[in-house]
Symmetry: C2
Subunit: 213 residues, 2 copies
């Protein structure tokens, strides 16, 4: 499989974690999101993924897969072991809900293109951009801390790693990068530490990528 | 089932469509997102959904379900007929990807709370807010028009209604509300019209809700 990825892309990071947890080898094809106005917008890349976003996954069997949630669901269906969605449908809904808090309520608002719009179209300063970033991350992490407070064990849902962890880790990694302290989120901090200790997660982190800077 | 909903909430609209398509009766419990600083933030509502967002679905069997994607996946698993995710796993990934373009790439950036932040925290005018809104909607609809261009029939994926339509309709409804013309998106316009002709969709639209204004 070929994964079109950018080392710092949080959505790519999620998919890398899932591929590693499922022991699926893949070839990383870096797409530099800042070089030349963003390689994801190049005609060559748009021919692979017309959305002009990473990640995109090329399998040996069918059309290119896009959008991290859809890719992770596909990987869960195609490589069921180890399972990353619980067997119980209420628990499964809970895990998906947590993924969505990250993938819908936090990440898109702090995405590169949105920050760029704030700066270039609306003329905001670095400080205002950072305040924006932190505001949405803190709002989201508060919600997650509440959600996992009484359900977390080693990981978000008890002691089994799930898609929720694969989504949480990259978001926390981003938060730390923007120097958002985790003191108010002790459960999140513990889960993050436990997940980051796993080889599959460690190998998926930005600094371990071939295109890391 | 009790669905906590706001007539204009696009995420609630998605779930209402899915419940209707699956012939599942539910009780709508309106949560007024503008009254008194937003009823979704009230302690009473937060006791039901700590995320302070709509929709939230209370079933008779288990804990409250949150986040529209997670709720729709739950409904698909619990009430498999009529199926809203295709049997083929590549087609399923495609449908989910389209849902994610809407639920992750368009909607969150134009959400009420984000527009509010632009106005109150960053001091932007109505014009700037509207320009922001239209920018993200047009970017997203361009991507969708490309995606469905050669796959759509009556609906996004051929002639069977899927989750993709349940997500697209509310987004287009929003676009029209903000007077974004659909001329450049002929496939989207056709799919929207066909889906809106269905009784299940018509009954789910904002103007048909008990809390409609």
């Amino acid at each position: 499989m070929n994964l079109h990825t950018y080392f710092r892309s949080s959505a790519s990071f999620r998919v890398r974690i899932v591929l590693n947890l499922k022991n699926q080898a893949y070839q990383a094809i870096p797409v530099h999101m800042l070089r030349d106005g963003g390689e994801q917008h190049s005609p060559a890349y748009r021919a692979i993924n017309p959305l002009g976003l990473v990640p995109a996954l090329e399998t040996d069997e069918g059309p290119v897969l896009t959008q991290s949630i859809a890719i992770c669901e596909f990987l869960e269906e195609t490589y069921p072991e180890p399972r990353l969605l619980p067997a119980d449908r209420f628990e499964r809904a809970w895990v998906r809900s947590l993924c969505n808090v990250i993938a819908c309520d936090i990440h898109p608002i702090n995405n590169l293109r949105v920050l760029k719009y704030l700066k270039t179209e609306l003329g905001h300063s670095e400080e205002e951009k950072t305040a924006w970033y932190r505001h949405w991350i803190v709002t989201g992490l508060e919600a997650i801390e509440k959600m996992i407070g009484d359900r977390a064990g080693q990981y978000c849902l008890g002691d089994s790693i799930t898609l929720a962890d694969a989504f949480l880790v990259p978001q926390v990694w981003n938060a730390l990068r923007f120097e958002c302290p985790l003191d108010r989120f002790p459960t999140i901090a513990t889960v993050y530490e436990n997940a980051m200790a796993l080889e599959a997660v460690k190998l998926a982190q930005p600094s371990a990528q071939p295109d890391a800077e």
